[in-house]
Symmetry: none
Subunit: 399 residues, 2 copies
């Protein structure tokens, strides 16, 4: 029995309200005399930490740096080693392309091939997004053997291709050779069951080659990362909550939608997200509010930008407290230290505020303080049970 089976049997309906504030890439490393959390002036988060129980979350396992997909699955209580969201599926979610059960998605590049069919530029000169959109329109809506093919522009030379209908398999090799000077690869079945799917994808690629024959700068499509929408139990069923997502980036909305959360409309600014939270607070039990900018700035190595964004978030904390949620959780999906310019394996600060938390004497919302918190060091996958417990939404296990 895994944690989710256990929780599904114990979760009960209740009136309590939960807010899970995910500050993407929250944790950092020392640079310029402190971490971003230490350098930032965060009077409201520090106060909140002092009346909460705090700790550190390992997104997956100690030492493992997660992508956004597994990091979020884990926060939501799904075993990230059991459920995976493939790269094609993530790319589709990232451009707000709604996926249905059974859809097969792939990442694509518009590329340039020479007259012998050999790849000369895998990115077609990093063509414009505008031109990408035009080429996508040429390919979109094709139908082969009853399977509909959807193409959608991502950015520059990148597109996503979705195959819809029939019994498709994701056990397919890439057509993208990853090097130049060779022709695109045939897509091969990695298991016998994928034979028909490989024929279908190769037929699409041949048709795409014909359609794009005279286009510039891209006259071919390369595909990689074939993946199907995972069969995943609904968050709302598992935990017996009405759950809503507030996020500015399509990918996070996509993950939330995939597990059955309601997606709320919100503007692109942090202020807009908190405004939406307030406006919709009466209608749901569980709110997942995602803030992206802290992660993007970490990836840019923008320490000061991260500090400023944290300070901006801090100013909205009193407004969140005014809503009087029964449980307020502040954490991140993973760390993105500016000094590394990337996601990292470092555990993520966590605070849980509820009437029934065991306040632990932590004095501020920093990595160092949370390390000494009463929750100790937990895996993210254990967070949901703690949240539901503090919201008085779990029955006793056994007699």
């Amino acid at each position: 029995m895994d944690i989710q089976d256990l929780l599904k049997g114990l979760a009960i309906k209740a009136e309590s309200k939960i807010i899970l504030l995910v500050i993407d890439g929250l944790g950092g490393l020392t640079m310029d005399g402190g971490t971003e959390l230490e350098v930032a002036h965060l009077p409201n988060l520090d106060h909140l930490a002092s009346i909460s129980i705090c700790g550190m979350l390992d997104p997956i396992l100690p030492g493992i740096t997660p992508g956004s997909g597994p990091a979020h699955l884990s926060l939501f209580g799904y075993d990230p080693l059991k459920y995976s969201i493939g790269r094609g599926v993530l790319e589709a979610l990232g451009v707000d392309l709604p996926l249905l059960e059974g859809d097969l998605a792939a990442r694509g590049n518009f590329a340039t091939i020479d007259k012998d069919g050999k790849v000369v530029d895998r990115r077609a000169g990093r063509m414009s997004t505008e031109r990408n959109r035009e080429l996508c329109l040429l390919l979109d809506g094709m139908e082969i053997d009853g399977v509909k093919i959807i193409t959608k522009c991502v950015k520059e030379h990148r597109l996503v291709v979705v195959f819809r209908g029939g019994d498709l398999s994701e056990e397919l090799s890439d057509s993208d050779p990853q090097v130049i000077g060779v022709p695109p690869l045939d897509v091969r079945p990695l298991r016998e069951e994928a034979m028909a799917s490989s024929r279908l994808v190769n037929e699409f690629l041949n048709k795409a080659r014909e359609i794009l024959r005279d286009q510039v700068p891209a006259n071919m499509v390369l595909l990689r990362g074939f993946s199907k929408t995972p069969v995943i139990p609904a968050f709302t069923d598992l935990y017996n909550v009405r759950a809503a997502c507030i996020a500015t980036y399509p990918m996070y909305r996509g993950i939330a939608k995939m597990i059955g959360m309601e997606i709320l409309k919100s503007g692109q600014e942090i202020e807009d997200e908190f405004e939406t939270l307030k406006g919709e607070f009466a209608k749901y039990d569980f709110f997942y509010l995602h803030i992206k900018r802290t992660d993007s700035m970490g990836e840019d190595g923008n320490f000061d930008g991260r500090v400023k964004t944290l300070e901006e978030i801090d100013r909205f904390i009193p407004k969140v407290m005014e809503l009087e949620p029964d449980v307020l959780v502040v954490t991140g999906d993973h760390s993105t230290p500016s000094i590394l310019r990337s996601h990292s394996w470092h555990p993520v600060p966590l605070l849980i505020r509820s009437r029934y938390c065991r306040v632990d004497g932590v004095r501020g919302f920093t990595e160092m303080e949370c390390m000494r918190g009463g929750l100790g060091r937990l895996q993210s996958i254990n967070l949901m049970s703690l949240i539901l417990a503090h919201a008085m939404r779990l029955k006793k296990y056994g007699a």
Copy 2:
């Protein structure tokens, strides 16, 4: 390989003595300016903590509130998600009804049905325990197809029914409809293998109806929570110890007996239990001493009563130390904060005193101090290996 398989292969005989003092419902939450442990004057436990290594135990997993059954199994090193003690079995253990392997037990209510056979009172007016005993005598000792049926009074309208002999299955639905105005339900097999058992139980219920026909206020029995004694490895074999239990409540003695501990005679007071410990100390290696009152008072919301009980326990600690156990462990099976009036998910304070513990600078036996202890946050299922290690009772694993 689970932890127990590992320990079974490593546990060796030794002369060392272990005392596991389980203060039921030990951990609390702040109320009246502190938790029960913080408000209580506990000079002996505080001193003990200062020369021990401390930590916090999650009974099952973070966020999960356990019943007494799984909480105790976990303390004794049994995976509570693998071994379960069903409700019928717990009820039988709770009235000191010794169970044999293969016994099928159910919780029962004496109920009132009308002339059409419909339930009009599921609790027969909460009849007296005295009358219950009389009716149990009418039903006790029946035999159907070689299966002996034992009925025993629990309290008021509640009884326990045990079916003994033959190949019985617990995969049975309840006969208790849980509502009035409908007849008792037929007991249905939940799996094919339970067909014969369902017929047997239904025949018992029909005979009970005949026997009770003219009785007042109860003329019927309703059954629920069918469960068999779990097949569970013996504590003594697994850990290579002569183990004894000192407990005032039947249910805890029942669990201890089920895993093969010797049950020691003791009076009902805390003082009596420590007296028994002293008197029997030479005869066993491992003593499980259970104190119930801290939990009962937590369930009553009696903060002051819990404080006083903790202070009473504290006065016996020097006597325990005089016995010079090689390992002395003080912990609980779960928290029962007075403010919640119920078991809770909060982790439980733990101290391990031994000549070979790594003393960690903890200054008192409270939730806050133990949170900062050197053991960190552990699952209860990991406690037995720590106990055996500190008692020099585990071989090295591997070369």
